[in-house]
Structures are given as C-alpha cells and as structure tokens.
Symmetry: C2
Subunit: 241 residues, 2 copies
C-alpha cells in the first residue's frame, strides 16, 4: 500500500473549535498505518474559528452557521478534497442543510459512532452522552442510537449546564485544568450510575479534558472513530483501484 | 481584539511530515490569545505527505519537491490564504525556488529562529543544531546565524547519521520511544559540550522526541517560534487596520 496509488484527499471542515481540529488531525495521522511521510493521506483543512457558535444557533441565540459551512466546503472541494469530515459534533445538526449542496460525500461522525458502539463487546444496550447543549437538544445522538436500538442516557439540565458546558467552555478558552477533569469525571460517573455501559465524549473538546481512564466503562472518542472510518475508506478505495 | 476585524488567513504548507503539521497547528492555536473559538485565526492547511523527501532531493537521491510545493502554495492562495508558513526546516532549502512564484509572503521559519536567538539572555554567541542532513548540507541555519553573528556547532558526520537521522526516521515512522529520546539527548549534550548556549531543534520532528528539559540550555523549537511570529503578524495587522 503506497500513497502514490491513493486518490482520496481528505477534506476537514474545522475550526469548531481550532484545538479540536488540531487534535483531530493528529489522530488521523496517528491512525494511518505507515512508516514514512509518503504513506500518509493527502489532507486539506479549512479551519475557520469565526464560524458562529453552533450551540447558540441551535438555541436560537445566534446566527445560522450554514453559510460558513457551505463556504468552507466549497474551499475544500476546490482544493481537491474527495470527501468531507467535520470534527465537531454540534455542527452535524447542520449537515442536512449542506449535504446536498457541497458535491462531496460527508463521512458522518455521529453515524460512525453509533455503528462503532454496536461493535463493542459486551453488547452496548445503554450509552451515555457528554455533549454540548446544542447537540443534546438537536437530538443528534438520539436519532442515530435509536436506529441501532441503543438507549441514550443524558445529564439532567442542571448538570448539563454546570458541569458539561462549563468544562467545554474551559477547554475552548484554553484554561482547562484539574477542575475541568473533575467536572467531566463526575458527569460521566452519573451516566454510568444510570446504566451507561459506554460514555460518548460527544463534543470534540471533551477528550481534551477527560482522560479515558477517568471512567470505568469505555469512553468513546468520536474524533478517533471518525479518523478510523476515514482511514478504512481510503484504504478500501485503494484496494479497489 | 476580535477576529471579525482580522483579514489575515494563515496558509500552512504542510505534510512534511504530517505529524509535525498537526503539532504545528496545535502550537499555533495554543499561542493565539483568546477565550473563544472566534478569537482564533482562520487557517487553511494543505498537508501533502506525498511531497518527495526533501533531504533525499538535497543529497541528489530523489526527485525535486519544488513542483509539489508550488502546487500546494497555489491551493492555499486559491483558498484565500494571505501568508504562507512552512513547518518543515528542510523544505526551506526550496523557498528561493518558490518565493517569487506564489504571490504570497512567506514567514521564513529559519529567519525567525535566528532573530529569536538574538533576543535570548544571556546573549547567545554559539548555538547548536539538530536537523536533517539535508538542512545541514543546505547550510540553511549557517546562512541565517552568520547574518546575526552567531557561531553554529553541529554533530559530526557519524553522530548526524546514527543519532539524529535515526531519531528523525523513528518519529516519522511513529515508532519513537525512550531510545529515540536518549539518542537525541546524547546528540544535544555533545553540542553543549562544544559550547552551544542554545540548541535549535531544527527539524519539526525533533521536539516530538526530545523534551525541553532533556538539555541544560534553552531548546529552541522553530515550530513554536514560527507560530509566535504568525500571531504577532496577524495581531499587528489587526491593530493597524
């Protein structure tokens, strides 16, 4: 397998937030098998942190980010991208508004996470979710887990606000520390107490503040699942060529 | 300072290697002051790991990467980039071949490192360099340090090969471990024994294998210096606007 026969160019629609985009690209590189630079996938990243806040838009408090997402997708397509990945859970609420207009397939991070949960052993019947209030309200995970018959448990409204969103804002501000980890650990443990056999770190900022060993059940990192799906896709394409 | 008044779009010509590009973007994000996504700089990254090996080209053993660098720069310009950064020391040997053709300013990483060395206290009269054989042979640091009256010390040919290049290849292969760190630490200490008052980690892979506290003198990370130069430039532009 050498890259010279690969035609896939990964397009990353990022900046939501920028640290999560950097983290996602590092995961994509680490997930790609290979021993030299030339084994890796060509990638183009449009990282636009000025995209209006997705949660605020979903709660009716801010501008619709759809035009920014369309612009970024156009930049990626013109740069030669053959597939789009969006390493931001909340932004997936806007995928139905852009999917038919960008002329490229999107590897759907939340769909990939739902599929990934079905591959875990023992079989996951209940999963917990730590995500932005926007992602929760938009029902993004609810919709996909329903399709696979997995029950979803969530923090109550108070903890969603005081624990999860506080931690996410700390990561976005670059001020996260042990307090952030403690908040997220407590929120995750409440989910396992409600029966969650796995916890989805459903905002790309969360894995930056919550180490995998902080909870007793598998902590699923959607960015890593998305990276693995992209590598599988590029490899399969290569084999087929 | 809000991003809405910023017109700078950072173009990163990357993939050399891809892990170093991810690391550089993470440093750019971490260096940018701000508390929300929207305070960060719009960035477009072209990460093409298929760019032929720069050291091999400089040693006459491989194809000239210049056409790939020109292609990548064109992608970045068409995507709206207003400035180009190249987070690969060795690739700077090809900057004179592309600079006049890409229609955008390049913030020169090696020039920025030389300038940065003159700001350290006590004043640096001798600096050591850990870099690829390509960077060393092309005389990139020699040329810039000469301009600022700083003497350059280098590993001897055997250690350059057996310590430095072995470690760089391990990082590129994703197989670096304590042995890699030991190799680089030994190489860095030899430079300080020759009088180096600072050591330049002059290949973007090196800081991934050599922690800053492994040497007794300042370890200068060109990727971080480049990130800081880009942030200063974007901020100054914003103030002037």
């Amino acid at each position: 397998m050498t890259t010279s026969t690969r035609t896939e160019i990964i397009g990353i629609l990022g900046g939501m937030g920028p640290a999560a985009t950097a983290d996602f690209y590092a995961k994509l590189v680490a997930t790609t098998p290979g021993t030299s630079d030339q084994d890796h996938l060509r990638t183009v990243i449009w990282s636009d942190p000025t995209i209006p806040d997705r949660t605020e838009a979903l709660l009716g408090d801010g501008p619709d980010p759809t035009p920014w997402l369309l612009d970024g997708s156009r930049v990626l397509r013109e740069a030669g991208a053959t597939v789009i990945a969006i390493p931001c859970n909340t932004a997936h609420a806007f995928v139905p508004r852009i999917a038919d207009h960008i002329g490229l397939p999107i590897v759907h991070m939340i769909g990939e996470v739902a599929r990934h949960l079905t591959t875990l052993s023992p079989r996951i019947r209940t999963a917990g979710l730590l995500a932005t209030t926007g992602t929760v309200r938009a029902g993004l995970y609810q919709e996909w887990l329903d399709r696979f018959g997995i029950r979803l448990v969530l923090p109550d409204a108070g903890n969603q606000d005081h624990e999860v969103m506080t931690a996410i804002h700390a990561v976005k501000a670059g001020t996260y520390d042990d307090t952030t980890t403690a908040l997220l650990t407590r929120a995750a443990r409440r989910l396992t107490e409600q029966g969650a056999q796995a916890v989805v770190a459903g905002c790309t900022e969360i894995p930056l503040g919550l180490p995998a060993d902080a909870v007793d059940v598998p902590l699923v990192d959607p960015a890593l699942v998305l990276a693995q799906a992209l590598v599988r896709r590029a490899t399969a394409e290569n084999t087929a060529a």
